[in-house]
Symmetry: C2
Subunit: 390 residues, 2 copies
């Protein structure tokens, strides 16, 4: 069994699918690991470190992709500058494990099925206790939440902590975090570490205790309807609920020095939670850090990858945040992959074995043996085809 | 008595000498305060806010400078784009209070004396208990130390805190802070807040307890000579002491993820403490934040205002750090000025009164009645004239 690690080609992607430590663990288990030359460069893992861990360094990507039994990647397969398509570079029947964004760009599932690839989407890892160690969405979202606070603190024209100095007392910064998922919770923890006064909002009342346990105040809104979707994610809600939510958000945005928005709906455009009117009400010098910028943004003023100024307020449209912490982002992602790959290795003869009785294998697999397996991906694709035909 | 606040014209300077709160306090005391139009813009204090505090907004800088009894500034007076020199814009006999860098650029003292300006240098505030509330070097250095950590954390490809996650444990970042003055101590406190493991070095053994009380490890070197100069600053030491110090620094730099250097000698080029060889020994992905970049840098690789890459190590030559936190930097500086200005106001008739019996007035005044008063400035000027004549 041969596992190959491809070099990421997307601009701004600094992560690598496996780190040398994890390579060493696979090699020790009797798995052959190939790593594309320079794959770890932007995450500060050298070819020499991979070689020392027992990997074979392969310079020709065409050879590496074609020979792989299991190809590990971080980002969605791309069209290459040399004209080749990464999906076409895989051998029929090979396994591909990566973020594949199958709900956002379902067309890729069609192509993977046509090529008879067994494709596993890291976005589809179920949110169960047994799958926690494979939950790459969480490991990477946590990094985004951490980094968002550092970016907000660096952009704020004020201190975060309360300080008592000889020249008077500095009041702590007020940070408001919208969305208390993994990214939001890590943002709360980091802002609290830095000494800010933190408030958080989430439409799911169940997260209240977790928010409070991190030392933040939970902003409550009575909605009288179900707000939690399958898998624990936030659900879309009614118009009345949206209005009440907006009102609560507006009140807190106005009083905050830093607002961090983290509301993303998998495969969809992000909801607008901070309107232009709310930004206009903020104090000059305040900062909005929008973690949903790549999905269109939670703030109406957001431009992905840019810092926008509105009446003295800076709106930061963050992109590629996990990539900006590439050592630990890669380390955690590699551990997530390792846990998943373990489920695919036959313990007896170390051969590749896909056991669809296993709920994790079943849930994460989006294409196998020429078929699209995941019903949500099928639906997304049907909608897409519908649009294309309409 | 008329106090005027000039708009800073130096590129990169975002601070303003007085903030509206402090203006209000002066106005309440019966002092007339003039503020140049737009003076607070880059620190997010609007003309309207100054007006509401009781200030008169003046659009013509020539009028404002000439009419001022006391002119308050942040940065050293400049040559203006309109061809005028700020020093020449002051009326004879007026008081100027600002950072004046009289030891670094002593020529300015000569010009101020020729113009018969009573100039007070915020760098010359004595380090006494009574003068603490006026210590602008400290209030601004503290901001630099805080911001240096945010910049280092944002540039590091790792998390700062230790984290226990479903995908394994993240070890905390190792931060090494060289120089435990005000900037260094605030850097220690901030890095500890963010969860890093912090070590600090200073040639003054007396700071050990303070370093330890902030939760950092103090790196000790036996030097067997006096290392503390007047005013509590670090003193220049012998060659043997330098070698021992370098060796200790080298060992700790090598093992650190982030190195923050804060060693500055007033009016002189900063000492090189982190050599090219030490940088070559650091792990790829590590970061050096050099707070002495404007004085030539504590790291041999530093370029002021730039991020330099060496073997995967990023060396950040920070400039204008207090200006990058302009609201609080201005607020603290304004409080420092307010305390000093209080010593110059006659309590009876609210007139300007310079009492040279007061040790703070005496120490901070560098020129008065056509004379250079400060002996260190005289020496610095004599050296400069010597160079010019040699």
């Amino acid at each position: 069994m041969k596992i190959a690690v491809a070099k990421e080609i997307e601009v701004g992607e600094r992560r690598v699918a496996l780190v040398p430590d994890v390579v060493a663990r696979l090699v020790k288990q009797g798995v052959e690991v190939w790593v594309e030359a320079g794959a770890g460069d932007r995450a500060f893992f050298s070819d020499a470190a991979y070689e020392a861990a027992g990997a074979k360094i392969v310079s020709d990507p065409g050879y590496l992709w074609w020979e792989a039994d299991v190809l590990l990647k971080v980002g969605v397969p791309q069209e290459r500058e040399d004209g080749r398509s990464e999906v076409e570079m895989l051998r029929e029947g090979a396994v591909l494990i990566s973020f594949l964004n199958p709900l956002g760009e379902p067309a890729i599932a069609k192509r993977l099925a046509e090529r008879r690839i067994s494709a596993f989407s890291m976005e589809m890892i179920p949110r169960t206790t047994r799958a926690q160690s494979m939950d790459a969405l969480s490991s990477q979202a946590s990094i985004a939440g951490y980094k968002a606070v550092l970016i907000g603190a660096a952009a704020l024209p004020k201190y975060f902590p309360m300080l008592t100095t000889a020249a008077g007392t500095i009041a702590p910064a007020k940070v408001f975090i919208i969305g208390a998922g993994v990214a939001g919770l890590q943002a709360i923890a980091t802002a609290r570490r830095l000494g800010a006064v933190v408030e958080a909002f989430d439409i799911r009342p169940a997260v209240k205790e977790e928010v409070q346990s991190l030392g933040a105040k939970f902003v409550e809104v009575q909605l009288e309807e179900e707000t939690v979707a399958a898998g624990g994610y936030a659900k879309e809600v009614s118009e009345i609920a949206k209005q009440r939510t907006q009102q609560a958000i507006a009140e807190h945005v106005k009083l905050s020095d830093v607002v961090i928005t983290t509301a993303q709906v998998p495969g969809r455009k992000a909801p607008i939670l901070v309107t232009e009117e709310m930004v206009a009400q903020m104090k000059p010098g305040s900062v909005v850090v929008d973690l949903a910028a790549e999905q269109g943004g939670n703030c109406a003023c957001t431009e992905p990858g840019k810092d926008v100024q509105r009446n003295g307020v800076t709106i930061i449209g963050t992109i590629d945040l996990p990539s900006s912490v590439p050592i630990h982002a890669s380390q955690l992602y590699a551990k997530n992959l390792l846990s998943l790959v373990q489920l695919m290795i036959n313990k007896e003869d170390k051969s590749l074995q896909l056991n669809f009785e296993d709920d994790i294998i079943e849930a994460a697999c989006i294409t196998h043996a020429g078929e699209i397996r995941n019903s949500r991906v099928k639906e997304a694709l049907a909608t897409l085809v519908g649009i294309g035909n309409g």
